[in-house]
């Protein structure tokens, strides 16, 4: 990569030469200030700094609907600064920060703090997710309206980590957020069916003597919530879909025209429950890794759009919560720095998605579900999709839109090295696994956050 000028810096004029937008024809992309000025076959550099992007793929900045940034409360595992640095290195320009912090993000005060810390760090936009219930307790609605009206402008609400199991409470939450175009993101896990659950219930759990987490515990909640969303006419988003049966239920709900969206994690697209055989809790996650048949169904669902998007469920943990017996270990895996490479491996190299599809599933659709680009699934002009245009995420890579983009080199294949990660935690299940691709540069509103694969500021 050659550059003129001093590399990192504030938004100015950048000329990205020879990148392939969405994997298409090589083009020059001119950024001016916070916006994309031109995307054409040849553009003059003029005063712009030039970034040689020959052979690189240009995608709109990735948007994650589901990350645990741990701050406030567990800054030993991650901070908003370290988590968003990891996000930028993974090609993200916006992440939704889940509410299960300490204290829980269930008030306007906490979500505004998270939002402000994200702005200060500056690596990518942080969109706080508000808790559905006070303290994630599952009994009393949090002040959803106050969080929606706050400076953090919360649109996605979730008790993620716990299921809103009470059917009436779930119904009320779905109904209530209609007033401000919100969406309830459900962690679908029937609690009684998963008491003490450790791994997918099946051959592996039977052999290893670990308590099973049955697929039906996820599927029964998804089915119930799809019916509730249809009944009250409000938006349901299903977090980390992990089973073939869940894909079928969501496909059915969408065929009915119901306002349901869904996400899948990178790890559920690539890893199976057989990895639990050595009892290394780096493979312990909730929902658990499932079977090869589930992976095939999830990939097919993501390819045909039944599953709208990829979301990382980035869940950093300090070493001591993973260097234990399996049943004593924390659930969760890091994912922000490997997500695009895993999607490349599982979806692109398999021929299931092209790069246009990757841009849709990792940027445009999650941005729409998060109400970050002036549209929402089901049509423009919903009351929640009211973000100022300069703040939009999710593309497109076109003149006049915010200059959020990632440049990705699809050529190299290298093993994942956790020591290189910017996340404070090292619990990646992909350590030492050869994966394709490399994020070369990320731009947030015209300003490079990553250059030559390294943090730019």
């Amino acid at each position: 990569m050659t550059e003129t000028g001093d590399g990192a810096g504030p938004a100015g004029r950048w000329l990205i030469k020879g990148a392939k937008p969405l994997g298409g024809e090589a083009s020059d992309i001119l950024l001016d200030g916070q916006l994309i000025m031109q995307v054409r076959s040849h553009a003059e550099a003029g005063q712009a700094q030039v970034l040689d992007a020959d052979g690189l793929i240009a995608l709109p900045g990735l948007v994650d609907l589901h990350a645990h940034l741990r701050e406030p409360g567990r800054e030993d595992a991650e901070t908003i600064a370290s988590g968003t640095a990891a996000a930028a290195l993974g090609g993200y320009t916006a992440v939704h920060a889940m509410a299960n912090t300490e204290p829980v993000a269930d008030t306007a005060g906490v979500v505004e703090q998270v939002f402000r810390l994200g702005r200060q760090a500056g690596h990518c936009d942080v969109r706080p997710v508000g808790a559905v219930t006070v303290g994630l307790g599952g009994t009393q609605l949090a002040e959803l309206g106050a969080m929606a009206d706050s400076a953090a402008r919360v649109r996605v609400f979730s008790d993620d980590g716990r299921c809103v199991a009470d059917a009436t409470l779930m119904r009320r939450a779905l109904e209530y957020v209609k007033a401000f175009g919100g969406v309830i993101a459900q962690h679908a896990q029937e609690p009684r069916l998963t008491e003490g659950a450790q791994v997918n219930e099946g051959e592996v759990s039977a052999r290893l003597g670990l308590t099973g987490w049955p697929a039906v515990a996820e599927e029964s909640i998804i089915a119930r919530d799809c019916l509730l969303a249809a009944h009250v006419g409000s938006a349901l988003h299903v977090c980390h879909v992990s089973t073939a049966g869940s894909v079928e239920i969501i496909r059915w709900a969408k065929a009915k025209g119901w306002p349901v969206t869904a996400e899948v994690t990178p790890h559920h697209l690539l890893l199976t429950d057989e990895l639990a055989a050595g009892y290394d809790p780096v493979f312990k996650v909730n929902p658990p890794l499932r079977t090869a048949a589930d992976i095939a169904a999830l990939r097919a669902g993501l390819a045909d759009g039944t599953i709208d998007c990829v979301a990382t469920d980035h869940a950093p943990h300090p070493a001591e919560l993973k260097e234990t017996e399996w049943s004593a270990a924390a659930f969760g895996m890091t994912g922000l720095e490997t997500a695009l490479r895993v999607v490349h491996e599982s979806m692109v190299r398999t021929g299931l998605l092209d790069w246009r599809g990757v841009a849709d599933r990792m940027s445009a659709r999650p941005a729409a579900i998060g109400r970050l680009n002036g549209t929402a699934p089901g049509g423009a002009g919903l009351p929640g999709a009211d973000l100022a245009r300069a703040e939009w995420q999710g593309g497109p890579l076109a003149a006049g839109f915010p200059a959020n983009l990632v440049l990705y080199d699809p050529a190299p294949i290298a093993p994942v090295d956790p020591a290189e990660h910017a996340s404070r935690s090292r619990n990646t299940p992909f350590a030492d696994m050869p994966l394709p691709g490399r994020v070369v540069a990320t731009f947030l509103r015209g300003r490079p956050t990553v250059l030559d694969g390294k943090l730019a500021s």
Partner: protein
Amino acid sequence: MRRHLISAADLSRDDAIAILDTAAELALLAQRSIPKLPTLRGRTVVNLFYEDSTRTRISFEAAAKRLSADVINFSAKGSSVAKGESLKDTALTLEAMGADAVVIRHSASGAPHRLAGWVRGSVINAGDGTHEHPTQALLDAFTMRHRLGRIEGLRVAIVGDILHSRVARSNVWLLRTLGAEVTVVGPPTLLPIAIGSWPCAVSYDLDAVLAESDVVMMLRVQHERMTDAYFPSVREYSRRYGLSSDRLARLPGPAIVMHPGPMNRGVEIAAEVADSPRSTIVEQVSNGVAVRMAVLYRLLGGAAEPGPELVAAASDRVAP
């Protein structure tokens, strides 16, 4: 043979036969005036017990001492573990003290796998959660072989809480390796969902299986199963899956009744059945010491073929 004994599934047929043969020779040792061998003199065996299990700990302790090993008993209760020390830190402590083998009993499935990653010595699984208990399976196989003269072709029924039983898992893997035909029997609630992937037959009907069994192995019913809707009541469980005197009478020929202990008399096994001539329950306990000696001997002793050498050592040094 591998460095560790963590799962009965890791044992090849040759490994398992070698352990049983060694155990048979070592069992003779117990009849000598001084039942002790110098084989493991200077070696340290740590009994790391996170669960109360006096019988298993004593069995391993006796086995190690009869091979002249130094034995350290590390009970989680009243130790640094009770103060919150992690398994990893305990492992590093044992490593620093130079343990040649760690015998671990733990309530978490897979704890021995984790331990094996943190210590250089051999790890012997003395029961991990609801996963495995390989030395129990070996002593059960030893007992079958001793009583019935063979294992190949034996029809073995394992009855009760298969889902939560480490004894059942280890026995299914080992008996498959040794050529027995296993049928697991229990209420559907106490069988794993994926039981069809195991190398055994499955039945919900004890009476249908009994007449076709050479060995009936009864499993202990844990108290917590009785309160979580796995079955309606203890009495109903006992009627459907308990080994009563009536059922005992229907066993064919020389069939034997086994139980890993401790028993719930009157629940899974009637008192008169436990005390009947078909019962091997007391033998299982005494065979446990010989089998655990054989495991320690083969993991730590370094001898590939113990046969004549072992007997010579026994006669030369122990009973001159």
